[in-house]
């Protein structure tokens, strides 16, 4: 029979659950929902098996099945007759399916409980559109307006984004330019870059676009949710129809025995109504330097073909982060930014900074600001200013300060300063770190400071 499954990518995104019919050795039919039918190649599909159930038993006894898939936009059904070939419990197909389930399990508090047992591979014996299922005279459904370029303009867009990145002078600019280009050239309005923090157990958002003030500083635990799983496994993961997947996960959670150690469901970072998510590890050699995460309110965006060019963009970001971490700033004698002139006669606000030594956290007016190395840096700057009246600082002196605990190699100082600068812009714009020349910056204050240090 003549068909090519590769022409129907939207059927295999798991946006609408599919139904699978089997029958047992006696010929009794069984029908069940499956959250996703996975495309393997133009003639093969796979189903994820999380539990041993009647379908598994039936397939062992009688390897024939029928599945109906729905186009997520039009609800046009397609039917496939399948012949069960084998169960895979390792390898690339198993790993890819396992990652998606890991993400859903993590979000729904079922890590280690809801997991993939096997990827069941089927030969597709026939594939047909169910003719007559939709009324041709009814009002046509609105087609989703996918933003951004088609694959034909992908290369030109990639060239443009690459040029923009190349023109950037530092990591700060590189992050902003990249996220702006992804928005303007490709229609990805919601994106963020996260870096591992000092503990290595968390990722912190260093740059974001499309999230308002809630973006920078947001944290994700390693192994938690889509972004944490990408960081832990260093694999690209894309989840289309995230709401469908979460509903499926919640249904499973509701069926699990209370004795099983379920954790509370964790909220998704970012958009509350995201329909799809894609996260890419930022790798230099095999080392994780961050994660690029993109969300969309459109179910089918990002599409399959986006992954390839986003991988190229991710590589450029990773190299930029690595270069910034390795770069030693040459001394430049002349400042390029004029010193700030204090505004005379303006009443100044008081801001109270509290540093908690125990967990290395800084709060401003009782609101959390920043922690770990960026927090220690801020405290050093504010304390030095208070004690010595100094407002000019250099990266070199921060690197030499043993108390800050920066590693000798790849200290990521520049990215930590970016995070600190952006958190201040959000939470306390009266305190600013203004770059003056390479490797130097000035602490500018438009407020009176109260500094409190606690154990």
């Amino acid at each position: 029979m003549n068909f090519d499954l590769s022409l129907y990518p939207s059927l295999f995104q798991g946006v609408v659950p599919s139904v699978l019919a089997t029958c047992d050795a006696e010929g009794t039919p069984n029908i069940t929902y499956v959250s996703q039918v996975h495309y393997v190649d133009s003639r093969h599909v796979a189903l994820s098996r999380q539990f041993f159930n009647k379908t598994s038993l039936n397939l062992e006894q009688h390897p024939l099945a029928c599945v109906e898939l729905l186009d997520p936009v039009t609800l046009q059904p397609y039917r496939m007759k399948l012949r069960f070939l084998r169960s895979e419990t390792s390898g690339p197909l198993f790993e890819a399916q396992s990652l998606r389930i890991q993400v859903i399990a993590s979000h729904t508090g079922m890590s280690g409980i809801f997991k993939l047992i096997a990827a069941d591979v089927f030969e597709v014996v026939s594939f047909e559109k169910v003719v007559g299922a939709l009324d041709p005279s009814a009002e046509p459904p609105p087609l989703p307006q996918l933003e951004g370029p088609t694959p034909m303009t992908e290369l030109r867009g990639l060239q443009e984004i690459s040029c923009r990145i190349n023109r950037t002078r530092d990591l700060d600019e590189l992050l902003d330019v990249t996220l702006a280009a992804l928005d303007e050239l490709f229609g990805f309005h919601h994106a963020m870059v996260l870096l591992p923090d000092d503990s290595g157990r968390r990722l912190v958002t260093i740059a974001s676009r499309g999230y308002g003030e809630s973006g920078v500083g947001a944290e994700v635990e390693l192994g938690q949710g889509l972004i944490g799983t990408v960081a832990e496994t260093r694999q690209i993961i894309r989840v289309a129809g995230i709401n469908t997947e979460l509903r499926y996960g919640r249904a499973v959670r509701g069926q699990l025995a209370p004795a099983q150690q379920l954790r509370p469901e964790i909220p998704l970072p970012g958009l509350p109504d995201a329909q799809s998510q894609l996260a890419l590890p930022l790798l230099v050699h095999d080392r994780l330097v961050g994660v690029l995460a993109i969300e969309s309110r459109q179910t089918l965006q990002p599409a399959d073909w986006h992954e390839a060019f986003l991988q190229v963009v991710a590589n450029q970001i990773a190299i930029g982060i690595e270069n910034a971490a390795l770069r030693e700033e040459p001394e430049e004698p002349e400042p390029t930014t004029p010193p700030k002139v204090p505004v005379a006669g303006r009443a100044q606000r008081r801001r109270r900074f509290a540093y908690f030594r125990h967990d290395e956290c800084v709060f401003v007016d009782d609101e959390y600001l920043i922690r770990n190395v960026p927090g220690k840096i801020l405290w050093k700057l504010l304390s030095t200013h208070r004690l010595e009246g100094r407002d000019e600082f250099s990266n070199r002196e921060l690197r030499l300060d043993q108390g800050l605990g920066l590693p000798a190699l790849r200290d990521n100082l520049e990215s930590r300063l970016i995070l600190l600068r952006r958190r201040l812009e959000q939470k306390c714009p009266e305190v600013r770190l203004v770059p003056t020349r390479r490797g130097h910056f000035r602490l500018e204050l438009d407020c009176e400071l109260d500094l409190v240090e606690r154990a």
Partner: protein, 162 residues
């Protein structure tokens, strides 16, 4: 019309309330087949039910039912995936009556409301052909829990494992 299993009152009300319905059958040479259904009506004695299959899309399913009568029907609530599976044997296949048409139209309106809550707009759901249908009368033999999870496939109402 009666089958061997009595459907609980609460469950009977649940499965008539705008759930997504799918039918599984198999052919003489045991190829399974699926088909969407456009309504399910429980018989007054709750030992059987009617399921409505669109004429346009159910040719293979109808051929299977005429061959061996064996049928499985899942009824699922899309927002929660709460699902049950009913198994039974076909007693009769009839063209829809005017009263059936009204029942199907009512089912379709209910399903449209539920689908809208999972992001499927009414103008998309409204395109799905729902008439004319065959009315398939079924004697109920077994009911199974089918909500995704470790207990999917357990006879309905039986205590959970573990």
């Amino acid at each position: 019309m009666s089958g061997g299993q009595l459907l609980g009152l609460a469950l009977a009300e649940l499965i008539e309330s705008g759930l997504s319905l799918n039918v599984g059958t198999r052919s003489a040479d045991r190829w399974p087949e699926t088909c969407r259904a456009m309504g399910l009506r429980v018989h007054p004695d709750r030992r059987g039910f009617d399921v409505f299959l669109p004429v346009a899309t159910s040719a293979a399913t109808l051929a299977n039912l005429r061959d061996n009568g064996l049928i499985a029907v899942t009824a699922s609530h899309p927002p929660t995936h709460r699902t049950v599976q009913l198994k039974g044997v076909t007693r009769q296949i009839l063209p829809e009556s005017p009263a059936d048409r009204e029942f199907i139209a009512q089912y379709r309106r209910g399903l449209g409301v539920v689908l809208a809550t999972v992001g499927i707009p009414p103008q998309v759901a409204g395109k799905v052909v729902h008439s004319p249908c065959w009315r398939v009368e079924i004697a109920l033999h077994q009911v199974f829990e089918q909500t995704p999870g470790p207990d999917a496939g357990r006879p309905y109402g039986q205590e959970r494992r573990g």
